[in-house]
């Protein structure tokens, strides 16, 4: 087994194990903290794919930003702080069945797709190309995402100022 394969399996194991903790832990803060190794495992896989810029953004936005936001929200609300909150309700079996079906579908797709071997070589420095792509062929998607985030921001401010 090559070093790359070893690294991949180790990273995948870290991501999956932390993912299981996120879903099953009865303590909300534990779930949120377990997100960090899960996201860092994904970051490692990005690095294996030579997508360093994406990896940096993943750590900055997800591990450093989104997780902190989630922790912040949990600690500021009543239910989260230290209480044991059951993460399952009576719909557990249905959810499990759906998850199993989705997993089966994904595995089937992943194993049956004839994955194309990449032609050509990767550029050594990707941020410029990513920027060109955002403002060139994918400008509509990029602007759409920006508008969505702006609407979310305005909505959040509106909700927060409701008491006045």
């Amino acid at each position: 087994m090559s070093g790359e394969a070893v690294a991949f399996y180790v990273l995948a194991a870290i991501t999956l194990a932390s993912g299981v903790v996120v879903v099953t832990s009865p303590n909300l803060v534990h779930s949120a903290v377990a997100l960090v190794p899960a996201l860092l495992g994904v970051t490692g896989i990005y690095i294996l794919l030579n997508a360093e810029f994406l990896a940096g953004i993943q750590v900055l936005i997800y591990a450093g930003g989104i997780t902190v936001l989630i922790l912040f929200v949990i600690m500021l609300t009543d239910g989260g702080t230290g209480l044991r909150v059951p993460q399952r309700n009576e719909q557990g079996p249905i959810g499990a069945a759906l998850a199993a079906a989705t997993a089966g579908l994904l595995i089937a797709v992943a194993t049956r797709t004839p994955w194309a071997q990449g032609a050509g070589t990767l550029p050594s420095y990707t941020p410029g190309a990513i920027g060109q792509s955002f403002l060139g062929p994918n400008v509509l998607v990029f602007e759409g995402t920006s508008v969505l985030l702006l609407v979310t921001l305005v909505g959040a401010i509106l909700i927060a100022r409701k008491e006045e």
Binding site: G65, L69, S124
Partner: protein, 325 residues
Amino acid sequence: MPWYVELARAVVGTIIIFSAVAIVAAMLGVLLERKISAWIQSRIGPTHTGPRGLLQTVADTIKLLQKEYIVPQNADAVIFASAVVVVPLAALLDYVVLPFGTTRWGPLIFRDLNIGVLYFAATSSLIVVGILMAGWGSNNKYALLGGLRSAAQMVSYEIPIGLVLVTISMLAGSLSTVTIVHAQSRLWFIVSQPVSFVIFFIAATAEVNRAPFDLVEAESELVAGYFSEYTGMRFALFQLGEYGEMFAMAALAVTLFFGGWQGPGLPSVVWFLIKLYALVFVFMWVRWTYPRFRIDQLLRFSWKVLIPVALLNLVVTAYFVIVRG
């Protein structure tokens, strides 16, 4: 390079970075802090241990090693213990992309990543997670308040730092720290980007939770903030993380604005250390001179002053970069 060589290199690098940061940043940093604060307040500071009190922090470290680990009742033991690892680890990871000097074989840097400054921003943002874990896991209201204040503060001040990093990498045409240093061989960026430097310095002071932005661990309100409940070596590791992060921020400022290791005559590493310690001195000078902000003033300052100014600076710089070609 085979992967086990890479792995061995990573392990050796970690040990070197950890020991260097522990000795140069944490031990010497604490001693400098005490000496400089004493000088500013017309005292003499530690004098008894070693010549002129030089061994004071060594003695303190040995003392802390012998202390008992206390886990508070009803604390979340897992989170409480793992927070200790997250904070210093995130600070140490910063050092991977900092160039300390140059040799015949190339720049003296652990790894010249092509996303250097982005990597720095990403790893230093992980410290907040550790601080929140420590604050919440201690099951102590002062610690929790300190942790929450820290999260609000660091998330707000990461944005101006990010904007400054974008401005500087735009000028240098690269995110790599080594290329940014090379781009300053004729003119340091402090000359062409003074506004960026002021924004960076203010935001970095806030990011490392030092006065006048130290209400995360404001002694008079919150005991020691998020690490109030930690004892012995765990306490020392938080101190290590804090001083490690401060030195890393100072080193990044040297790299971004003061031409990194470049300078006439002296060896490059010496130049780097001179600039680094000069900036660390300014950090300490500010800490012992200015009173503390209130949390609302602090957040308002970031969102209503620093971020708009940084954005404007970014746009103006972009304009000049485009016009110049």
